[in-house]
């Protein structure tokens, strides 16, 4: 990737993060921390990697994405809106009564959402079902699913991993957002899921461990995943929770809390400044 290309993706991710702030501020609730940590992966997937078309969101040959960590809907919605699936202006209606932007992803109301999620541990199984469905029908599309590092404490995640390796779902890419924090604190203090990479390897995955804010590493890992045959790939990405807003970074308290008016202004100020710099203004 060229410097220019990376800068352009970083600029989009900046807009995605602004969308997260707009959404959670508008909702006076929601989950900014894990939305921000995954913003670079969301951006790369929807703006570079996946075969999708906002004008034809239900195309049967499209790549699929399942947000297994459904609480980071603000991140997914901000990405979909910036990609053209629905107006960015709608983001502040997140969680409002009568808004189509439900608190957790709803495939029947939000254009571009491939599966309704929110209850942790279920999305990865659904993604495995999609991948098996694709293989069974001789379709070449790929399925991506994003999990939290706290989410993998759910036993069902490991049922799904066993299943994915057993059925050799090499069209499935499982991404774990290892931001190190969950609601009650650091994941290794609450209930350690470590070593995540070794566990996934033992379950039959090809595993890539990357910096989830480095586009070269994201690209390399996703490209490798496409060349791996006979087994699913997992990408464990080290990230910073709340990435992009100084006072949110590395704070478990920003897992599921909305910025107030003052915090909103500071956060948007920081992101706008970062965007201006990326766009060379």
């Amino acid at each position: 990737m060229t410097e220019q290309e990376i800068k352009s993706l970083q600029a989009i991710a900046c807009k995605v993060r602004m969308g997260v702030i707009e959404g959670t501020h508008g909702a006076k609730a929601g989950h900014p921390g894990g939305s921000m940590s995954a913003a670079d992966m969301f951006t790369y997937l929807y703006f570079k990697e996946m075969n999708i078309d906002p004008a034809d969101p239900k195309n049967e040959n499209r790549d699929r994405f399942v947000l297994s960590k459904g609480h980071t809907a603000p991140g997914l919605y901000a990405t979909l809106a910036n990609r053209g699936f629905f107006p960015v202006e709608d983001l502040p209606t997140l969680r409002h009564i009568d808004s189509y932007l439900q608190g957790h992803p709803n495939m029947n109301t939000v254009p571009g959402v491939d599966m309704s999620t929110g209850s942790l541990g279920q999305g990865i199984s659904v993604a495995a079902g999609m991948a098996l469905g694709a293989k069974h029908q001789g379709k070449s599309y790929r399925v991506y699913t994003l999990l939290g590092d706290g989410e993998i404490q759910e036993g069902q995640v490991w049922e799904a991993c066993m299943f994915s390796a057993h059925y050799k779902l090499d069209n499935l890419c499982v991404i774990v957002d290892n931001n190190g924090l969950q609601i009650d604190g650091p994941v290794d203090k609450v209930m350690s899921p470590y070593p995540i990479d070794e566990k996934l390897k033992a379950f039959g995955f090809h595993v890539e461990v990357i910096d989830g804010h480095d586009y070269n590493q994201i690209e390399a890992a996703l490209n490798t995943a496409k060349t791996v045959k006979g087994q699913p790939t997992a990408i464990v990405m080290h990230t910073t929770k709340g990435k992009g807003v100084s006072f949110m970074e590395g704070q478990a308290s920003w897992h599921g809390k909305a910025p107030n008016d003052e915090e909103y202004a500071i956060a948007m100020g920081e992101l706008k400044a970062a965007l201006a710099e990326l766009e060379g203004k």
Binding site: N108, S125, V126, A128, A160
Partner: protein, 313 residues
């Protein structure tokens, strides 16, 4: 009645899947290490490439089925009723019910007629659990012929369906090719003194009870209510109006099943005295199925007793 042909509805399930599978390429079957017991093995033998064993991991299986359905396949996810509706309840609720996906759940070994396995496997709560999910269709067929027809009807409708089958071989009383409709009850006997509304293996018992009651001067109406949800409200109201007394019979807890569905409807639209026959808020235990059914009052004999008492005779 020694010459009555008996078939377990689970056997009919396997047979129906194999027959439908021959017609429809998009029908796939998932099982959780119970293919021999749920009888999806019958389908597996015919279409090994379309049968996916998920191992002993029902939660994952239910969500895999949800994912497969989004790709245009029509999955029948199979396990024992206890695990399909109980263990995986929240998966059914959130990954199938909430998005209203086209997944069929084939739940076998419902009720206490599971027999010797005992209470841990005798699911008497599945109607209650599945009824609580918006948009879920629930069918509990009364014999092998109806079971086959119900599987076909479930495939043909769009949306989630919970099909409840039994382990025990039970009498077949429907003629082949009878017209089964989801959401429509079936009047098996006209009557005016009391309406007996049953499903599953209690339907045959209700028919027997109706005949015995007739000999004792009680004219009972007998209805097969295979579809627990959506309930055939029109038929229930008509039966209640005509008879003024209703008895419900099901191999399920009296809490949350067909009996309560009927009571809810009648209490709001046509208050009518109701007696519920079912498992009375208790767990089952090990024993031969026939003996258990008798012990728990899930028999023609008990229906007759309740009806006579109800009618003051």
């Amino acid at each position: 009645m020694a010459d009555v042909k008996k078939v377990a509805t689970r056997d009919a399930y396997g047979k129906a899947l194999a027959a439908l599978g021959a017609e429809h390429e998009n029908l796939v079957v998932l099982d959780a290490d119970l293919a021999n017991a749920t009888k999806t093995q019958t389908f597996q033998k015919a279409f090994p490439d379309r049968h996916f064993d998920c191992g002993i991991a029902e939660a994952n299986m239910i969500c895999v089925a949800a994912g497969m359905s989004t790709t245009g396949l029509v999955p029948f996810a199979s396990s024992f009723a206890m695990f399909a509706s109980g263990r995986a309840f929240e998966q059914v609720r959130n990954s199938i019910g909430y998005p209203h996906l086209n997944v069929k759940i084939g739940a076998t070994h419902g009720g206490i007629s599971v027999g010797e396995d005992g209470a841990s496997h005798q699911c008497c709560e599945d109607f209650a659990l599945m009824r609580s999910i918006p948009g879920m269709t629930i069918i509990c067929p009364a014999d092998g012929v109806e079971a086959e027809a119900a599987v076909k009807a479930a495939y043909e409708m769009e949306g989630p369906v919970y099909l409840r089958f039994g382990r025990l071989a039970i009498p077949v009383f429907h003629e082949e090719g009878f017209n089964f409709q989801i959401g429509k009850g079936e009047v098996l006997r006209e009557g005016t003194d009391v309406a007996i509304i049953a499903n599953g293996l209690l339907v045959y018992e209700a028919i027997q009870a109706g005949e015995q009651l007739a000999q004792q001067g009680i004219d009972a109406m007998v209805i097969n209510m295979a579809t627990v949800k959506p309930l055939d409200e029109e038929l229930v109201l008509a039966a209640a109006k005509k008879c003024g007394k209703v008895i419900t019979c099901e191999e399920h807890s009296v809490i949350g099943g067909l009996g309560e569905a009927v009571c809810s409807l009648l209490s709001e639209k046509l208050p009518t005295p109701v007696k519920r026959i079912g498992v009375n808020d208790e767990f089952g235990h090990s024993g031969p199925a026939a003996a258990l059914l008798k012990q728990f009052g899930l028999s023609a004999e008990h229906i007759v007793e309740v009806a006579k008492d109800f009618c003051g005779k």
